[in-house]
């Protein structure tokens, strides 16, 4: 029997990520049929900042999803023999970036450099020189004078290619949707406030949002074009201590960041919201128990608690090597456990906030009106309390998202974070600690991690802001 060229492998976190995506898609389809929800999302869709942010987020999610399609490549064997698969697990993203992954240098090199960052004793020389890179600028040969011209040319070419791809897409969309797109790009500077008819204004707002999506896409395309053109011959963000391309590390970190952010939130959110509302609304001994619980939890220093839990979990994983066929599976289990532990220890702040806010809401007259109708406790919590807390939940979520990515960095520093084989922003920042102490300083790992995280968190923040505004009936007219 001939085996496949690859053996697909579904890690637990992949499965969770895909289930989450499926649930979101299903919810979106369901929301389309609810008038109120559709109207609220339509308001989000008309907000140009939100749509730009959503576009950027979508790019991040796309990278994360590509990185979640795991497989084991087939090893070369005799024809006819049973197919053998590598122990190493790759993802679709790895396949796309195989060039970046394989072109590793000996050690540090600055972004777009042609030589290593530090002097080394060369073989047939007494002097210590900067050795040439194996891959960075290799196409230039000995003629280094053309280095800057080459970079400029690649910049132009990449930007041009990005623009070309965008124009093709724009033309296709325009053919499909007709004239609507014609005005789209002009709206940015046009004054919509003077539009007398409301319909015209609404249309303008919608096409302004579409315009901002297109402009964001243009920026994304041109940036991608430039990066691709440069990455072909250079290390765009330089290389790290063992010569790995930092751009590759950054792209791989996205999935880890997204997973830690979303899964932890998924664990933490129901606990925090449920316990917070219960404590605030029911009061009495329930309130006491929940308060004691979270006061106790938050009185133990967070890092110590997490470290203890992670170490326990590590012992369990280490004593059961038979559970995991590959190192990737082991690293994945560790990542999931970390999310679980982070979630179970980080709900206290939000729960306290929920409790306080519920105490306030519970005394409001609409809650008493519901009580006068004999509406049940849980129905009141669900209909009257929870919707009026959603804005806090949403803000806390986005704030926590960035906080969690950082928490992962701190934990990696203590040595209890993700598996050493897992690439994450945390591990990148952690190694940057040593690099920043070098003279001359190695700054690019940190800058790369920082700029990717900045884009991700900013996009998430802006998008969450727009959602909160759109779902608050008071702010819409």
């Amino acid at each position: 029997m001939m085996g496949l060229a690859v053996q697909p492998l579904l890690l637990w976190s992949d499965a969770l990520l895909f289930v989450m995506t499926a649930v979101i898609v299903a919810l979106a389809l369901w929301a389309r049929r609810q008038d109120a929800l559709r109207a609220a999302w339509a308001r989000v869709a008309k907000n140009s900042v939100a749509m730009s942010a959503a576009t950027v987020l979508a790019v991040f999610v796309l990278i994360g999803m590509l990185d979640s399609l795991h497989y084991r490549p087939r090893l070369d064997t005799q024809p006819g023999a049973t197919a053998q698969y590598a122990v190493e697990v790759h993802s679709a993203l790895d396949a796309l970036l195989s060039g970046l992954r394989q072109r590793s240098e000996k050690t540090y090199s600055a972004p777009l450099a042609t030589h290593l960052f530090s002097r080394e004793a060369l073989e047939n020389s007494v002097e210590r020189e900067f050795p040439r890179l194996k891959h960075g600028g290799a196409h230039l040969g000995e003629n280094l004078a053309g280095h800057e011209n080459d970079i400029a040319l690649r910049l132009l070419f990449g930007a041009g290619a990005g623009l070309a791809v965008w124009l093709v897409m724009f033309a296709a969309l325009r053919r499909r949707y007709g004239v609507e797109f014609k005005t789209t790009l002009k709206v940015g500077d046009g004054d919509t406030a003077n539009g007398a008819e409301k319909d015209a204004e609404k249309g303008a707002a919608k096409s302004a949002a579409a315009g901002s999506v297109l402009l964001t896409l243009l920026a994304v395309f041109m940036l991608t074009g430039v990066v691709v053109a440069l990455a072909d011959g250079y290390h765009v963000f330089g290389t790290d201590k063992v010569g790995q391309d930092v751009l590759y590390l950054s792209l791989k970190s996205i999935r880890t960041g997204l997973l830690i952010g979303t899964l932890t939130t998924l664990v933490m959110l129901p606990v925090a919201v449920l316990l917070g509302i219960l404590a605030g609304y029911v009061g009495g001994w329930v309130d006491d128990v929940i308060q004691y619980l979270y006061t106790t939890l938050s009185s133990i220093p967070g890092v110590l608690l997490i470290a203890a839990a992670v170490l326990m979990m590590q012992v369990v994983i280490d004593t059961h090597p038979e559970w995991f066929a590959t190192t990737a599976e082991r690293a994945d289990a560790r990542l999931l456990a970390l999310c679980l532990i982070l979630g179970m220890t980080s709900w206290t702040g939000l729960a306290r906030l929920m409790r306080g806010e519920t105490l306030k809401l519970r005394e409001l007259e609409f809650v008493q009106a519901a009580q006068a109708f004999g509406v049940g406790r849980f129905a009141i919590m669900h209909r009257h309390i929870l919707p009026n807390l959603m804005h806090i939940v949403l803000i806390a979520l986005v704030m926590d998202f960035s906080g969690l990515v950082l928490a992962e960095a701190v934990l990696s520093y203590v040595g209890v974070g993700v598996d050493p084989s897992t690439i994450s922003f945390g591990t990148m920042i952690n190694t940057a600690r040593m690099e920043l102490a070098r003279e001359p300083m190695v700054w690019w790992s940190l800058v790369a991690a920082f700029s990717f995280m900045f884009a991700l968190v900013l996009a998430a923040n802006l998008f969450a802001d727009a959602i909160r505004d759109a779902f608050d009936p008071r702010s819409s007219t």
Binding site: F366, A369, Q371, A372, F373, P387
Partner: protein, 651 residues
């Protein structure tokens, strides 16, 4: 002339809350700025002080205070004027004092700034000021914190701070709206006396015609950012010229209009960002003519001191008052719908580690009353006397400590939550604040349907009944999908009434349902309530402190003081032949629009704490008739006729 304002216009973005105001105030004069909420009264005052909120700008106009152009002053010069030349006091005494500083520090701060006094001299002066505003034992009060003072005392402290700079003009923005009538009378007396002794001018901002009648020399009526009428008090109250003023008077509930519908002003004040081509009042005016739509009416002199912005030669009488069915409910001989006996609601005060109860706040302490089907019983009293708590305890929203509540012959207090469920449809509540009583996240339809679903009223189909209910309370059926924030205060209160009516109750407990509303809107809601009573034979338990509303609406009245009913009887008996000194004082404190102060009994001080009620008759520390006998035991009920009963040994 101490202050003259020329064509002041204040814009916030597209909104124009103040749109061309001109007025003058003489030294020592009390000028009242009268109008409904949203008319730009407070914004005008803030504009004069240059304390406008962020985003608001003075677009045009001139403000001249004692010869200085205030709008042209640099900020440092303006700081001298604020507090020094013009003092200001605000509506809410609870939030205008800093809670973490002693009263003395806050007064001394103003004295340091404006009088240059320091140390003991400043403290001595602060004591004098507190004495002037009528605070007993002023030197001790200087070291107290605002939370240790009652609302009336806090407002006095605010006035003392405003007086520290010896201002020539005092701006009082709704100074008594948050206070009880008895306290309001005290504060108004104080303001009036200060004005006379110091020759200080007073710009009084209010929506209350009674306060205006009590205080003002001249009156400016504000509507949608403009003055529409200016007149001296006597003329304003005897012959108001603008249709809006006329209707404000007609909308006031009082005893003469019992059984009749109140004249209402349809609609509400136009939004501040609306553009006007003609008269601003035209959409609510029944005498609007074609020319009213075309151009804004110019000022017209009615006589030397009264002027009005209206095309009409003479103000028409108010819209013909529809006369209703008159006194609706007859004294029925049937068993009462609601019978409350000895109701007690005590909240334990817990202290110490073990949270042992060391005492109790006796919010309601032995309340008894009866309410027949189809009638209105008003529960009257100052804030803090336990009215609202009593209402909630009757509904079993709070479980009473003791006593019995019988609804239609069924005892409620002993029933479990599950057993109460079927009875909930019979009794419902309308709350005070229409902005807090509707969940902002639910649509109107969902809000009204909630009770029907929870109590399984009807056959599960809610669409048609909701449409009918909305029309019944004067809203359109197509409003079901809107959110509460899209409605004005009056409309929200209608929604709250529709929600209560959805389960076809027989008893409606109305907790101050109109206290958050303007006079014209209050009239709409009162009319609606009396129509519904005629139609549906509803019984109302009307909890209020507004005597005029009681006089208009109630069949029976019970006066509450410190958790107990001190006088009860029919409306006529209690309000016109009051026997209890507290009832008499309460009635005397209500300012009347005829401006005559017929106060015979003036109350001093505040209500004592319900955690520590005085011995004997609770009222004796404030009662002018009290003697030793009153301190001994709580008086028994003395009956006058079949319905009238009083708890006082001095009657």
């Amino acid at each position: 002339m101490i202050l003259s304002v020329q064509d002041l216009a204040i814009h916030i973005g597209a909104a124009r809350p103040v749109d061309g105001i001109s007025l003058t105030i003489e030294a020592g004069e009390c000028y009242a700025l009268l109008g409904e909420s949203g008319c730009g009264k407070s914004m005008t005052a803030l504009g004069l002080m240059r304390l406008l909120p962020a985003g608001a700008r003075v677009i045009s106009g001139a403000v001249n205070f004692e010869g200085t152009d205030l709008l042209g002053l640099p900020e440092s010069g303006m700081r001298e004027v604020r507090g020094g030349g013009i003092g200001m006091i605000f509506q809410e005494p609870a939030t205008s004092l800093n809670p973490v500083l002693t009263v003395g520090r806050q007064i001394v701060e103003a004295l340091q700034l404006h009088a240059g006094l320091q140390g003991t001299a400043a403290r001595k002066r602060a004591g004098e000021l507190l004495d002037q505003v009528g605070i007993p034992d002023p030197l001790r009060r200087l070291d107290e914190y605002p939370f240790q003072l009652s609302g009336g005392l806090r407002q006095r402290v605010m006035i003392a701070i405003a007086l520290a700079g010896e201002p020539r003009l005092l701006i009082a923005d709704e100074p008594t709206t948050a206070l009880d009538v008895t306290i309001q009378a005290q504060v108004l007396d104080l303001l009036d006396e200060l004005r006379r002794t110091r020759g200080m001018a007073l710009l009084l901002i209010t929506h209350d015609l009674g306060v205006v009648a009590r205080m003002a020399d001249r009156i400016g009526v504000m509507y949608a950012g403009q003055l529409v009428e200016e007149a001296p008090r006597a003329q304003f109250f005897s012959q108001p010229a603008h249709p809006y003023s006329v209707r404000l008077f007609a909308a006031l509930p009082d005893t003469k209009r019992r059984g009749a519908n109140l004249a209402t002003i349809p609609g509400s004040v136009p939004a501040a960002d609306a553009r006007h081509s003609g008269c601003r009042f035209v959409y609510r005016c029944s005498e609007a003519m074609a020319e009213c739509h075309k151009a804004p009416p110019p000022w017209r002199e009615v006589d030397a001191c009264q002027r009005v912005r209206c095309f009409l030669a003479a103000a028409a009488p108010p819209v013909a008052v529809k006369v209703g069915a008159g006194e609706t409910a007859t004294q029925s001989r049937q068993a009462p719908l609601l019978e409350v006996t000895d109701l007690q609601m005590h909240f334990p005060i817990r202290r110490g580690i073990l949270q042992r109860a060391v005492g109790a706040v006796r919010a309601v302490d032995g309340l008894s009353l009866q309410l027949m089907a189809g009638r209105t019983l008003a529960l009257v009293g100052e804030s803090g006397c336990g009215k609202t708590t009593a209402g909630k305890a009757m509904l079993q929203l709070l479980r009473p400590t003791a006593g019995s509540v019988m609804l239609d012959g069924v005892e409620l207090t002993t029933r479990s939550a599950g057993q109460l469920q079927p009875l909930r449809a019979k009794m419902q509540m309308v709350f005070q604040d229409p902005f807090a009583s509707l969940n902002p996240r639910l649509r109107i339809g969902e809000i009204i349907a909630e009770g029907m679903q929870a109590l399984k009223v009807g056959d599960g189909e809610t669409g048609a009944p909701i449409a009918k209910l909305l029309e019944q309370v004067g809203l359109r059926a197509d409003m079901v999908n809107r959110y509460p924030h899209e409605f004005s205060g009056g409309q929200r209160q209608r929604i709250a009434i529709a929600r209560a009516l959805a389960v076809s109750p027989r008893l409606l407990i109305c907790d101050e349902p109109t206290s958050a509303l303007d006079v014209s809107v209050q009239a709409q809601i009162l009319n609606l309530l009396s129509e519904l009573q005629r139609e549906l034979e509803l019984a109302y338990l009307f909890i209020t402190h507004n005597i005029a509303v009681v006089d208009y609406l109630a069949h029976d009245v019970a006066v509450m003081y410190l958790g107990r009913v001190v006088e009860r009887g029919t409306a006529d008996e209690v309000l016109h032949q009051a026997r209890h000194p507290y009832t008499q004082a309460l009635l005397a404190a209500v300012p009347h629009i005829d401006g005559l102060d017929k106060a015979t009994v003036k109350l001093s001080g505040d209500m004592p704490s319900p955690a520590n009620p005085p011995s004997g008759c609770h009222f004796h520390p404030r009662c002018p008739l009290a003697d030793e006998a009153c301190r001994v035991s709580y008086p028994d009920e003395i009956r006058f006729g079949a319905t009238h009963a009083v708890r006082c040994i001095k009657v």
